[in-house]
Symmetry: C3
Subunit: 348 residues, 3 copies
């Protein structure tokens, strides 16, 4: 999205009083034909965000002098196939997710300060555990090709991707590319009750980013009286010139139930576009050890820096009683499922 910002300029009349004022309005409109097939039902239709989540954002920074700046970022996901918005969570707890379809700033709503000492955010923000599953390490990240270890994680993903009521700190980069992110989020239940800490958690992430190598390691935990959710992952990518390869390993748990996953992926330029592939596995230690394996292949054809056509094919094999299915299809235990996306993504 960085390559497609629309900056709103300041009117002459305002410029005197607000020389630093600027709001950036940007977003993505991404629609895809989707089809999913399984042993029980199949489903065809139009989906949103097969290559990049449909969204719009208002954001800006203000130079406060002395190396200090203020920032805000309000980002709202929407479904382009129906025009509906997406829910957010008031308290990082399962019941706290409001199932409305009005637009919310579900993807980010922060205000913060940045300086030579790093950056502080307050509000609803990406969790430290999110980075490893983004398009930086998963060649797909969204759509039918998304890694299983992320999409088929433990039951409650509350607090794994984005967290409300959060205070986060990110260090500046040191040692040629090393940085850390620390975050605390509050469930805001009344104290002194059994569920007083439900939805409260904290996490951290280490990143290393150089020209060729990127790596992320995270650990996070959200408290629940019914069993804490704990997230751990390592992710790395290597850009060896003509292509890029990546790997993710994760181990998540909620209470006594744990799950493990891994992914290997790759990107390779092809003409005006890029070929992408990933293979991922997810295994739960529930009875029977339900396991799903996924192969995804995709091609993105760039019409410009902002606009691309894309297609993705994915195939899931289930065992141990698992019944993962793609694009809204349903499949029986140990049956496979296929999915297909064909879409257009436009950044604005």
């Amino acid at each position: 999205m960085k390559n497609s910002l629309i900056c709103l300029s300041v009117l002459g009349l305002c410029a005197a009083a607000h020389a630093q004022s600027s709001v950036t309005l940007s977003g993505t409109a991404d629609a895809t034909l989707t089809r999913g097939t399984g042993s029980l039902t199949s489903r065809s239709g139009l989906g949103s965000g097969g290559n990049s989540t449909s969204k719009f954002a208002l954001r800006g920074t203000e130079n406060l002098g002395g190396g200090l700046s203020a920032l805000f970022w309000l980002e709202s996901g929407f479904l382009i196939d129906s025009g509906s918005g997406q829910a957010t969570s008031a308290n990082n707890q399962p019941g706290g997710t409001t199932a409305v379809s009005g637009v919310t700033f579900n993807r980010r709503a922060i205000v913060g300060l940045a300086g030579p000492w790093g950056e502080v955010h307050l509000g609803r923000d990406w969790a430290p555990m999110y980075d490893a599953y983004t398009g930086r390490y998963d060649p797909f990240g969204v759509g039918v090709g998304i890694a299983l270890n992320y999409s088929a994680g433990i039951t409650s993903q509350n607090g794994a991707v984005r967290v409300s009521n959060a205070v986060g700190y990110t260090t500046p980069k040191v040692l040629g590319g090393l940085s850390a992110n620390l975050q605390h989020w509050a469930g805001e239940n009344p104290s002194g009750t059994a569920t007083g800490r439900d939805g409260t958690g904290h996490g951290m992430r280490l990143n290393y980013d150089s020209a060729a190598v990127s790596a992320a390691a995270h650990w996070g935990r959200t408290d629940y009286a019914a069993g804490d959710a704990v997230y751990r992952a390592l992710a790395a990518s290597y850009n060896f010139g003509p292509a890029k390869a990546s790997a993710i390993v994760n181990h998540d748990s909620q209470g006594v139930l744990a799950s493990k996953g891994w992914l290997v992926g790759g990107w390779m330029p092809l003409g005006a576009g890029e070929v992408k592939a990933s293979y991922s596995r997810h295994r739960s230690d529930a009875a029977g050890e339900p396991t799903a394996k996924k192969l995804a292949l995709g091609y993105v054809h760039n019409l410009s820096k902002r606009t691309a056509l894309y297609t993705t094919l994915a195939h899931v094999r289930n065992s141990g009683g698992a019944r993962q299915a793609l694009n809204g299809a349903t499949t029986g235990p140990n049956q496979s499922s296929r999915g297909f996306d064909l879409g257009i993504r436009h950044n604005f």
Copy 2:
């Protein structure tokens, strides 16, 4: 709205990388005093969109070279009398309309490509069946004067005005003004069930637009296990210099229940404004053939190209057991109803 676009210019800092970037932010704020009377209850208050629906839109195009361009359009209706948003539909089925009052892009959410070969849209879009009922052929189109054949159509208007999960194609204009629109929309129910095709449909429209004459013909169908909804209409207008006249004929059905309607309308300039009038009839073939006839008279006084004051008077006569009423009033079978709007419309 074309005459009131606000274009957001690109900051110097961004211009280099995004020479083509532009987002248009436009909309309408329209509020009206309303009153409706019937034989049972009357109702007074403030309404939204008496002359043009209150809305805002984000949209833009990108020149991709070679005659090709990418486009997006996100449009959100709202009620200016309460500030609430409007619901959209996830699946074009009665139960799929979420009754929330948060803002959604209920009016349009598309991404597409345009070229010399025409234009393709993916997302939530105007149905092919919408054009005949807009202000192009109905002098009112919204507000208390709206044609009965549209507002009192068959039970389910899902899929008659806007459709989600849609893929549409519009041809370029040929033969001095002829174009066609083809669209398919998906209900996205799982396959292999009795309602597997509920909400799925397709439609087409032919348009002819020359300096003096405009015409539209549409046919569309949305599948429902309980009875398909089928829409058919012809509409035409003729601009004979000092004034413009129009007519619409429609025949819609859902399962075995059909309804027919027609409208004749006219526009005439008067000073800085315009006088509008329409007479419309709607008859259902349900028991007793409930029938409603409506006369609407209006005046729009332009304060500028963007801003107008307006007033509309409407009278409905019911027979055959019909009890259509205006502006929130209720009336008994075969009783009449009157309605009144007095408002201001401002495009931004």
Copy 3:
């Protein structure tokens, strides 16, 4: 917010046709660490709008010539701690407030005309009764320091702050600073029923604003079959150079139940910031005369004209059976409560 407007300039391509077009996009991102303690439960977390409500607004004016202008203002509150929107009310009645978390224009949605004769607004607008409780007279106005006479008013605050379905008129300033605001709002229930006027009301406010003195007096009433809500208040502030002092007295009632409140407050510059303090009391004439007294102390440190760090401490003492508590804590009858905010506010 006036000091932080972002004005969107008009592209050259559009300028010819829309020389007067302009939309202002502005807002506030305000997040605060909050803590509340009471005798029963305490609560910690992140809050939104401790110094100024988090919001964004689209607004603009159009010069119509002859001293006349058109205006619109769409303003949406949101919670930055979760990214959710805020509900609005369709009919100014308790049941008419839709508890959705999608974004709505709950704070303002108006279109209007302004001229030498004053200003007319149609839509959802500030009630005449709001001004006395804003930051003009209450040093806090929002957050943990807000005056008790406002936050602990009569049961139904519908129609006390903002009203839907409203028509309002504000006079120009005369006699060196005197103006009046008159407003009518509709509940829009059907006529002829016992609750036919529920939610309908009207109010007026007188303002006087000179260099040193500001004053407001309001009276308003919203009809309910269960007992009309009546609002009365006087507020004044005096700026004596190094500091500013204010006072508010109010008397509200709903049916036979009345409540009285008062506040004294003050502002004093301190370095790059400002110290604020208020003491307020609220007493209901319900059985036992439940009474709450609140002391609030705050400091706002300006990092720029647009951005500030702030902190507020508040303490409530209850008697007569009252159990007012702060920041989500709960406290027993006649027990006290404390609250604390520490946050950042950024206008954009």
